[in-house]
Amino acid sequence: MSAVIDDHGHAGHDHHHGPAKGLSRWLLTTNHKDIGSMYLWFSFCAFLLGGSMAMVIRAELFQPGLQIVQPEFFNQMTTMHGLIMVFGAVMPAFVGLANWMIPLMIGAPDMALPRMNNFSFWLLPAAFGLLVRTLFMEGGGPNFGWTFYAPLSTTYAPESVTFFIFAIHLMGISSIMGAINVVATVLNLRAPGMTLMKMPLFVWTWLITAFLLIAVMPVLAGVVTMMLMDIHFGTSFFSAAGGGDPVLFQHVFWFFGHPEVYIMILPAFGAVSSIIPAFSRKPLFGYTSMVYATGAIAFLSFIVWAHHMFTVGIPLTGELFFMYATMLIAVPTGVKVFNWVSTMWRGSLTFEAPMLFAVAFVILFSIGGFSGLMLAIAPADFQYHDTYFVVAHFHYVLVPGAIFGIFASAYYWLPKWTGHMYDETLAKLHFWMSFIGMNLAFFPMHFVGLAGMPRRIPDYNMMFANFNMISSVGAFMFGATQLLFLFIVIKCIRGGPAAAAKPWDGAEGLEWSVPSPAPYHTFTTPPDMHTLHEHRTGPKHD
């Protein structure tokens, strides 16, 4: 399209103008980079809010006895911490990364559905406004755990549960729209020559994640709608007194909930699969098997939900089926870990912050995977279930898994986003403090769980006191360290050494073919095969 035509008829569509000024830039933007940034900032705010709730929990659990909060508020804190971290911190962070990076990685000018993109972001502040406001309502906020099992969340719930239900509905709509956008973008807007099996793994894992989201978010919407009916319209889906079944709730919830945990980890798998090769200066080992392993994990995630319910009294055959299916997940997950290790093997490794977080991701996520395998053994799960062992397990897959994956991605792509290098010394400090803090916080939870401490209790016997104190110290350290991350990011935005188009010598991919910071509009014409080729073949040694 010639510039002349642009000038006459479509001045507003001129591809060389910058962003609009003022508030309307952010309210009305359809630019994938702006929306990506908003998602990332939103997610970080939610991370700090959910994190401060975790600090309240750990402060109360610092010693036996009730010191800081009463049990009813404690329950609201555990519930809101879980909801905000899952739906407010981890998921939006990955959507933010997808918005920023997928168009840059596949040579697309923007996301396929930019207006919907704007809407799906702006639903989130509305949803979380509703959710957080419940804390100030009469009777308090949701206090039934992030898994909100009926009938505790229906017949016995505080009045604010209705607001919680609508907040979940809004988040679900936002996630589904975000996911549709990713699918549409990846399937339609790839640059010529960017075949599916040439896509970076981050794009692959996000494509699969998007299908998972589209499949399970409606199930979540269904289950909260059934709650709404039970609470306000006299139905009895989950009330045995009216012919319903409280266990039905758990089946439907976990049919959403198990794929959900993979939704929170697959994009991190993808990001780490770009970062480890970059800092090993060696192509990713087993690209094809990585893609198939991701697909296998996604498929298995639909047929293992009842392993969260081994103690509800499902029949022996059901118990066996879910045990075997769950154990199977170890195979594709193992393949991924072996591939990452082989990628490092005989590479030429350096350990900048993204690599530190990525290596810690592989090791610590594997520890979470091991405890997951232990939890899959149904008879042993009778002892582990709903104890701190489970809390340790899912924090090992979510904190060094999802969150370290996000930190690694942030440091890896910050130069591209801001045009500046971040402060490497401070970033390494951030890594080590996070690494030590998170292990101190979560490793002892394995011990107290095995020794018999149930989860979601505000007070405990003295036999659990020592490790709880250590956990709290670690949690405070991990929490405080995240303010350092905020400082590093702000410092990087405001200045720092200029970043080259490709600041990491071993990095691969189209995103490094555009200048740093990435211009407001990129790939307005698709990159040609040559550029594509250059950025797909092995690392350069310069």
Binding site: Y149, A241, Y324, D386, G452, R456, N461, M462
Partner: protein
């Protein structure tokens, strides 16, 4: 005066571990039943498998991080696939998993066989206490937390069994197969005794089965393990395992107690006797929400002090205590407390904290109320 360093070291270790040895427990207890021991064996087997795989994978990784760092290994290799290796690391883990699934399946089948029991106990979870009913024996009772509020609020030193002590534990005989029929009256709870490796959810409207056979007498403690509301952390499970002879004695005593309670219902009570008994009942059943001062924790838990509910219509007062208030935290105590205790606590509430109505509700009044209700249904 200098002592051998070993002395100080062992003193230190004794201070650290000797005082509260359990406080550093890092593993699951092996327990006291066949089932708990086979569960423990499974746990250790899968744990060691994970340790070995972890050591291998992390070993290779850490070696690579040291030997293949850029300063030692400036030129990276360029390999990126190897079908043989990839097949091997898919098939070998699969075989390990099959090896693990076999004993797990065997144990699970054993756990699921709850037939041919000698003693049947119905376990019902309430917010926030357990109820045990010995089927066919006419013995039933609630098991309440006895840890004083002062210990919880750090006003008194905590005892050894802090939060794990109850007024009446479940008592079972050694050597017998005891079957638990587990259900709940309000929300979902979960009944767990780690030493027996029994954990089963208590679900309102459904009955779950589980069983145990304990060889060693002793007191085994656990907790509710499914979030069930405010006092989820304050409803312990205590199982007192006794020899068959001691169990028979205990059972006979409980039966006699039940007979005595029936007698109490027909006794002529004075208001003083009722308020005195009522205060005890209030302390176990009501104090967590309505508070010792009767001031509650509004708005969720309303005050009883000066409340119209407890100073006006007697019928309405009996009704709310017996039937609870659906949709709120106010539980139905009609089945949880005896007529005597219901009458006592209602009388107490009508006369405590300056309510001073001077009115008395007798066990017979409560019985009449319940019977009238049954007649209308």
């Amino acid at each position: 005066m200098s002592r051998h360093p070993m002395f100080w070291m062992s003193l230190g270790l004794w201070l650290l571990f000797g005082q509260a040895h359990a406080a550093w427990d890092v593993n699951m207890p092996a327990g006291v039943t066949d089932v708990s021991r086979s569960v423990f064996d499974l746990h250790m087997a899968i744990f060691w498998i994970c340790v070995v795989i972890g050591a291998l994978v992390f070993g290779v990784m850490i070696y690579s991080m040291i030997a293949h760092r850029r300063s030692k290994h400036p030129h990276s290799a360029n390999f990126h696939e190897n079908t043989k290796v990839e097949v091997a690391w898919t098939v070998i883990p699969l075989l390990i998993l099959v090896g693990m699934a076999v004993p797990a399946t065997r144990t699970l089948i054993h756990i699921y066989d709850s037939t041919e029991s000698d003693v049947d106990i119905q376990v019902t979870g309430y917010q926030w206490k357990w109820h045990y009913k010995y089927l066919g024996e006419d013995v039933e009772f609630f098991s309440n937390l006895t840890t004083p509020r002062d210990q919880i609020n750090n006003l008194a030193p905590k005892g050894e069994h802090y939060l794990l002590e109850v007024d009446e534990p479940m008592v079972i005989p050694t050597g017998a197969k005891v079957r638990f029929l587990i259900t709940a009256a309000d929300v979902i709870h979960s009944w767990w005794v780690p030493a027996l490796a029994v954990k089963k959810d208590a679900i309102p409207g459904f009955i779950n089965e589980s069983w145990t056979r304990v060889e060693e007498p002793g007191i085994y403690r656990g907790q509710c393990t499914e979030l069930c509301g405010k006092d989820h952390g304050f409803m312990p499970v205590v199982v007192d395992v006794r020899s068959p002879e001691d169990y028979a004695v205990w059972l006979a005593e409980k039966k006699a107690e039940a007979a005595k309670l029936a007698e109490l219902t027909s006794k002529e009570w004075t208001i003083e006797e009722l308020t005195e008994r009522g205060e005890q009942v209030y302390r176990t059943a009501c104090v967590a929400c309505h508070q010792a001062s009767g001031e509650g924790m509004p708005p969720t838990f309303p005050a009883l002090k000066g409340s119209q509910m407890v100073t006006q219509d007697i019928e309405a007062h009996i009704d709310i205590v017996v039937n609870g208030k659906p949709g709120t935290s106010m539980a139905a105590f009609g089945k949880q407390l005896s007529e005597v205790d219901l009458a006592a606590v209602i009388t107490y509430e009508r006369n405590a904290w300056g309510n001073d109505t001077g009115e008395m509700v007798t066990p017979k009044d409560v019985l009449d109320f319940k019977q009238a209700e049954e007649a209308t249904q």
